[in-house]
Symmetry: C2
């Protein structure tokens, strides 16, 4: 490894990951048997890190470790190791509040920037399942629950000033990934950047048009500013369908390495955007046997399920578990105050929705014109088939940003997606 | 001292402050002569801390030290010492950007929670000068400059993600004073709280009416939420006319112990509110010789001077010194983008103004119904004379909160204050 790393760090491999786990009595006990007998597989198909699945006779674990560079780009794009610290920190902060909706957290090894968690099995990545035409009857509800519980518990409504200050202070240091978001999500895709790519030459015109759409860039930059300056709750920071693993009945949200105290709408918008992109991509996965129309409709129907679950749970928690310093109970002690407080809560959720629509748009555009693309579209091998679908997604995103008043409810999103 | 304090801490007195300074070679040199020859006076007239003015034959300094309790309340209201750390941290962070507009910073002594700064002389507190009927031809411009320079330089427009993260992380820990603001500014004044006080019995009706004005409380709580969740820049946090010391020609902003990464409009609104309160209080200081009408008008005229200076300077810095990650130049590289970028800048400043109006209102109400009052009103000895003026201020504040669309420009504020 040519990039400098701190003392004690080494990148794990199929051999050393055994030694590492064997030296942790609880992990050794969980796996059972001898380290040589464990099955080890490195499955990191993502952009950034190493991920090992380790199966022993008695149980299994998953080890995730940071590399000193962006895996998808190689050593030419160095990246600090500390993202593993923030990822495990997030699991610890929200774990108790999202019981059953995230992998169980087992151990963090600071000098290796590696942590051990529950190995999810037979779960697959939600995005892959949706692309393959599978449906998950509970997933939208589960992710809505996750988003509501995790953000409520770490907001100024669900937590005290002192508790929230700890998260604000600690996660503010997650600057390497916050910078990546600011650049690859917000600024690069509508700028001239060597990191951008798109379906060429089919979408050359789109890329050019978007890059010279001043109003669109103004709207994206506004959301970029809001992203950097809104500290509503500890957010996951990357809550797309690639950060959710599923079975028919179970849902786990993972990969919270981009977490920081930011806008709640960013998490909500990430999931919305990725449902809509998957919907728009479905015709590209049609076969003679399955035109994917039903699948597409089912995916799009998850938009209101997700939002309504999020909203209902957030409001319910506000009723039962408000122990923070915002909207304090002392100020709304009279029965006559309840109607106004209820209206403020509704307005608050409307604001989260409006933010979510904007962030959803930004996160869609970046998947069409920026550095990291989605397999929803990438797996449509034929560019002539892919490009028009990508174009639809980009045009819908543009509408979200330039006509926000037309998208006030999840039903507006559904209608907009169908109309495009 | 009965409250527990960390090892090495002792409250300075007129004797020990000499030893402390004499042990600092630079301070000893600055003062000159022997410690016994120095004139020492403790002048802390504020609510929280000890302040010593020390004059030697060659120069003078000012020492400010935290006490482990709220000075205005006594040991029954304990308060962590670390506010001195944040105050000196703020001076260090913004000092270079507000050259000449803040006291020079000399030294911080961590275990004493004490720091040494320039002794301002013959400066007096702006609020006192205004109450005495004095005018300061440059002060509104100077404070506007201060607010613009300090917030721009520490915002995501003027600073990088990494720089701002340092301030966010460090100042997030200023929880004792952030909590005081959340409670005594935002929640107490419109709640039943034993800390509240008001001119009784004259304003009993007002207090009751405001406490049962659900819509008003909803608006205040919205701004409380924004205060806790908006991290636009490192703000002073207490920028009222009691935090500004002046001569005819010179202006220094001091007492930034409430600083944290918060909403820019909170600093702007604090100064606006205190100009307006001073304006409304002027008739209470009228004498046979001076009806104070001209003084009042002059004070109110400073509202547009202050805002216009703030806005002009902030925009000018944005043109010349944008090195942050928000609204990045790469996104607005085409000449055709400039009109949109200029419109986003205007919209941004409009947002700061709207925030400022809301925070100004909240900060006015708390001075009439909450714990800490302003001498602008308190020094009007006759309650029959004081109460109607306080009532005007409160009613104007209520309009700011419930009719925000009527207050879009500083001229709207001037007109509103004259009409009330
Ligand atoms: N706890 C787990 N159990 C089973 N498989 C897992 C687990 N965590 C991750 N994986 C597998 O490893 C892959 C990569 O994980 P993850 O997305 O966390 O890595 P990453 O490097 O952060 O990728 P990304 O580019 O999405 O940021 C997942 O797609 C999944 O297949
Ligand atoms: N650098 C200085 N030079 C001269 N006098 C000063 C200086 N700093 C403070 N003072 C004097 O000390 C008084 C108290 O200072 P300051 O407001 O900083 O204290 P405080 O305890 O934080 O008060 P509060 O927070 O209640 O306003 C000021 O009103 C001013 O008269
Ligand atoms: Mg990841
Ligand atoms: Mg003070």
């Amino acid at each position: 490894m040519s990039l400098p790393t701190p003392a004690g760090y080494y990148a794990l491999d199929n051999h050393s990951v055994r030694t590492f786990l064997n030296d942790l009595p609880e992990m050794r006990a969980k796996l059972g048997g001898a380290p040589e007998s464990w099955a080890v597989e490195e499955v990191g198909d993502g952009n950034l890190n190493l991920v090992f699945l380790v199966d022993g006779p008695d149980g299994s674990v998953c080890v995730k470790q940071s590399l000193p560079y962006v895996r998808a780009a190689g050593e030419s794009w160095p990246l600090p190791l500390d993202r593993a610290f923030f990822e495990q920190s997030y699991y610890r902060a929200v774990g108790a509040h999202v019981e059953g909706l995230a992998p169980r957290f087992y151990h963090y090894q600071p000098e290796l920037y590696a942590f051990v968690m529950e190995r999810l099995s037979p779960h697959i990545i939600l995005r892959r399942g949706l692309i393959e035409g599978r449906r998950y009857p509970h997933v939208a509800q589960h992710v809505g629950e996750f988003a509501a519980r995790s953000t409520f518990a770490t907001s100024d409504i669900g937590a005290t000033i002192e508790e929230k200050a700890e998260w604000t202070a600690s996660f503010a240091k997650n600057t390497s990934l916050i910078r990546i978001t600011a650049e690859v999500v917000f600024s690069d895709p509508l700028s001239e950047s060597p990191r951008n790519r798109w379906t060429r030459p089919e979408l050359d015109g789109l890329a050019r048009a978007f890059r010279s759409d001043s109003a669109l860039k103004g709207a994206v930059a506004d959301f970029g500013w809001r992203f950097l300056t809104t500290g509503q709750a500890l957010i996951h920071g990357d809550l797309h369908t690639g950060s959710v693993m599923v079975t028919e009945t179970d849902t786990k949200v993972m990969d919270p390495e981009f977490s920081f105290v930011g806008p709640i709408g960013y998490d909500v918008g990430a999931f919305l955007a990725n449902l809509v992109m998957n919907y728009l991509a479905q015709p590209g996965h049609a076969t003679a046997a399955d035109d994917r129309r039903e699948q597409a409709d089912w995916v799009l129907d998850q938009v209101p399920v997700f939002w309504n679950t999020f909203k209902t749970r957030f409001l319910a928690l506000w009723e039962t578990s408000a122990r923070g310093d915002a909207y304090p109970a002392t100020m709304f002690a009279h029965p006559a105050d309840q109607a106004v407080l209820a209206a403020r809560r509704e307005a608050f959720l409307d604001g989260v929705f409006a933010d979510a629509v904007g962030y959803a748009a930004v996160k869609t555009i970046r998947r069409i014109l920026g550095f990291a693309h989605n397999i929803d579209f990438e797996w449509i091998a034929d560019p002539a088939r892919r490009a028009p679908l990508e174009n639809k997604a980009a045009q819908l995103a543009r509408k979200f940003l330039l006509e926000p008043h037309s998208f006030r409810t999840p039903e507006d999103i559904v209608a907009g997606a169908k109309a495009i």
